[in-house]
């Protein structure tokens, strides 16, 4: 028998589905019902004319579990395609965050200075707060959020990862 791999890996999986009622519940129910991890999940319609939605899910598990996850996704009836973006070559992954920092004086100046370094945009501000918008890889967002912590961070909203493969081939 082939040896079981116990190494836990993280994967970004793209799923093209029919945009029909309940399709997201099916995907989420699959993960919760079978005890798989969801680290991040995004979904929105990507092709209105054909009624396709695209789900990007970041998950983790052993190689065997990850293959199971893909096979289980693949057998859901409204699923058209399942692609393992991590395994099948390189991909671009991005996440968007809106980050609210409140405060005044030195901390406020420092927050703005760091935002500038990270190329975060100010999308809302008053005398006592900023809302920064930042796009990047998730770990970059993590670092920025950490840096804002002592500077008056009060609210974070993140989209979760969206991803697309590099090169000329489509999903």
């Amino acid at each position: 028998m082939a040896p079981m791999d116990t190494n836990i890996e993280s994967r970004t999986i793209a799923v093209l589905v029919d945009n029909e009622p309940g399709v997201l519940a099916r995907v989420i129910g699959l993960f919760s019902g079978r005890g798989y991890n969801i680290e991040s999940l995004t979904v929105t319609e990507v092709d209105v004319a054909h009624g396709f939605s695209r789900i990007t899910v970041v998950t983790s598990g052993t190689a065997q579990i990850l293959e199971q996850i893909k096979a289980q996704l693949g057998r859901l009836v409204p699923v058209h395609r399942v692609r393992d973006l991590t395994k099948e070559g390189t991909s671009v992954e991005r996440e968007l965050a809106l980050i609210k920092v409140a405060g005044a004086g030195e901390k406020r100046v420092e927050a703005l200075r760091i935002a500038d370094i990270f190329r975060a945009r100010v999308v809302d501000s008053s005398h006592d707060h900023f809302v920064f918008e930042m796009t990047g890889q998730s770990d970059k967002l993590d670092v920025f959020v950490d840096l804002m912590q002592p500077l008056g961070l009060i609210d974070v909203s993140r989209t979760g990862v969206v991803a697309i493969s590099r090169g000329a081939k489509a999903l």
Binding site: M1, A2, P3, G22, Q64, Q72, R75, V77, P78, H80
Partner: protein, 587 residues
């Protein structure tokens, strides 16, 4: 002339007819009255009134499994739908194609906690292959046909269509015929990949100790799958074992058949699995009743796995050659290449392999001694088999000891004769399943091999049997215990029989008579054959209360957490090999 108008309810009936449906199992209620009205106005589809919706689903399963067609259920909203949930889950785990039509409150009331409202699609999402809520009559005919396609293709399973009452009552002038509907996304792979099939053929051809491990997928694939599989197994001369769900996929009386494998499988089947060098899994799923402890499952074999469901492959056991495809098609291809290349197994190795298997067989693991007046349950089932086998009966079972004894002592030479709740293990399955099988095969002998405890779970369906004059034979192996629970309590919980006694049982003969059925009771071994014959010959439905030895255990047994070679063959073995702590947490 104005174009023809259909109501939603009429479209439902028309779609059922166009899908070749002749029988629907159901129970009316407020939210499905328009469909019941449409049923009243036609004669093509027979509606069978069950006594509880759970019975309807199991009856449809029995109908589907004994015919190879899709079983159809019609229930109302709310409690009608929730009562169907167990049967749907049962059908999902055993891959039975079903369509379950559920009534729903009108669309404008959905979400208002209306009377008899339940979130049917939400509740049934994890226990169906797919489900639909039809909000718009425009999509109704398409949805009906799609549902039939989904239920039957790929790995079969139950599909729910939730039908709000206003959709049933609405009117429309268009109807799509089945051939006009093509599913957008669902295209299961039926032909295996050629290079994997070639590799598999080579692996089998070079095997020294091969074994075929055959599951319910072969039965779902259709009768021709059993035919080609049987030809392949016979051509190779290799041994063959089947799972509980696979009984009948290979002839049960054939000399190459090792009996069922798994927790209560035969010694020879399990040891052949443990010791083989090449395992050919056709349409089985390496579930925990089969493998025993995974780490010690057939450690030295190369494994081929043929399954139409890619997610079954490498789920529990890692295999060497995965083949995603329809069992029948793939086996046919293997057979073709095998013949073309004029392969044969190495005769010397095969002979040595069979002589080892014959040594295991010589243990006679299903042996028992019937002496004295008390009927051994094994004996009861063995005699039932001997006396009925010429009539090729349809057998359904409930769940527990009697189910395992039936699997061990009844032999099936053909597919679709054996209906049991394998995956979910649903007590109460057998009686309604027998109703479904008998409705599909009015002239054949249909027997529900039951236990007294399981029988009580769906005995309301006696009313259905009486109403439709179904000559079902209900053979109750009555030991006055939930026997399998008692057995586990004995083996694992210090013989403390917590709540496992079947107290306050009815008088089954009087119970039968109260429904206008024939009731029989057998208490002595010497009466058994004659009374069985009387039951078999009776044109009426019969409840046969077969009172058997009370505390007989079901052997052989692989205790939970143990490996194939650690089988317990009888009570002496059980005392010698206590079950591990790890084993106790497993079910």
């Amino acid at each position: 002339m104005a174009t023809e108008q259909f109501t939603g309810a009429e479209i439902v009936i028309k779609a059922l007819k166009d899908q070749g449906v002749d029988t629907v199992f159901g129970y009316p209620g407020g939210a499905v009255l328009p469909i019941y009205d449409a049923i009243f106005k036609q004669n093509d589809i027979k509606h069978v009134l069950v006594r509880q919706e759970g019975g309807a689903v199991h009856a449809a399963e029995g109908y589907a499994r004994s015919t190879g067609k899709v079983g159809v259920v019609l229930v109302t909203s709310g409690p009608g739908a929730t009562n169907a949930v167990t049967g749907l889950t049962d059908a999902l785990l055993d891959s039975i194609p079903l369509i379950c039509l559920t009534g729903q409150v009108p669309t404008h009331l959905i979400g208002n906690d209306a009377f008899q409202e339940a979130d049917t699609t939400g509740i049934t999402r994890p226990c169906t292959k797919h489900n639909y809520l039809v909000r718009d009559i425009e999509t109704l005919s398409r949805t009906m046909h799609e549902a039939f396609y989904v239920a039957q293709n790929g790995r079969p399973g139950p599909v729910v269509i939730d039908l709000p009452k206003d959709v049933q009552q609405g009117k429309i002038d268009t109807y799509l015929a089945p051939e006009e509907v093509k599913h957008r996304s669902y295209r299961p792979q039926v032909n295996g990949e050629a290079d994997h099939i070639n590799e598999a053929v080579e692996l089998i051809a070079n095997a020294k100790r091969p074994v075929f491990y055959v599951g319910g997928g072969v039965i779902n694939s259709g009768s021709s799958a059993s035919t080609v599989l049987t030809e392949l197994v016979r051509l190779t001369g290799a041994p063959c074992t089947t799972t509980l769900m696979g009984l009948g996929a290979y002839p049960g009386t054939d000399k190459q058949f090792l009996g069922m494998l798994g927790m209560h499988g035969t010694y020879e089947a399990n040891l052949a699995m443990y010791n083989c060098d090449v395992m050919i899994n056709v349409g089985a799923r390496f579930d925990d009743r089969i493998t025993g402890v995974i780490d010690e499952f057939s450690p030295d074999s190369k494994k081929i796995h043929i399954d139409i469901d890619a997610s079954s492959i490498n789920k529990n056991v890692m295999v060497d050659i995965p083949i995603v495809g329809d069992a029948g098609r793939v086996v046919e291809e293997i057979l073709r290449i095998w013949k073309e290349k004029k392969h044969s197994l190495d005769a010397k190795s095969l002979k040595a392999w069979w002589s080892r298997i014959d040594e295991w067989r010589a243990k006679d693991c299903l042996g028992y001694v019937q002496d004295g007046p008390i009927i051994k349950p094994q004996h009861a089932i063995k005699r039932l088999y001997e006396l009925t086998k010429d009539r090729k009966p349809y057998i359904t079972t409930e769940v527990g000891q009697h189910q395992m004894w039936a699997a061990q002592y009844f032999h099936f030479d053909e597919p679709k004769k054996w209906m049991t709740s394998g995956g979910l293990g649903t007590m109460g399955y057998g009686l309604p399943a027998a109703v479904g099988a008998q409705l599909a095969h009015r002239e054949d002998l249909v027997i529900d091999i039951s236990g007294e405890a399981s029988f009580m779970m769906n005995m309301q369906e006696l009313g259905t049997i009486a109403q439709y004059k179904l000559p079902v034979k209900i053979f109750i192996v009555n030991n006055q215990w939930m026997g399998m629970v008692r057995q586990w309590q004995q083996l694992l919980h210090g013989n403390r029989h917590s709540e496992s006694y079947s107290d306050a049982l009815p008088d089954f003969v009087k119970l039968a008579e109260s429904f206008g059925l024939k009731g029989m009771r057998c208490q002595k071994a010497e009466d058994l054959d004659q009374m069985l014959q009387e039951m078999i010959d009776s044109p009426e439905p019969v409840i046969f209360d077969c009172q058997v030895a009370k505390e007989e255990n079901c052997y052989p047994m692989i205790p939970s957490g143990a490996a194939h070679y650690e089988m317990l063959l009888g009570p002496e073995d059980s005392a010698a090999k206590p079950i591990s702590e790890e084993g106790m947490v497993l079910v």
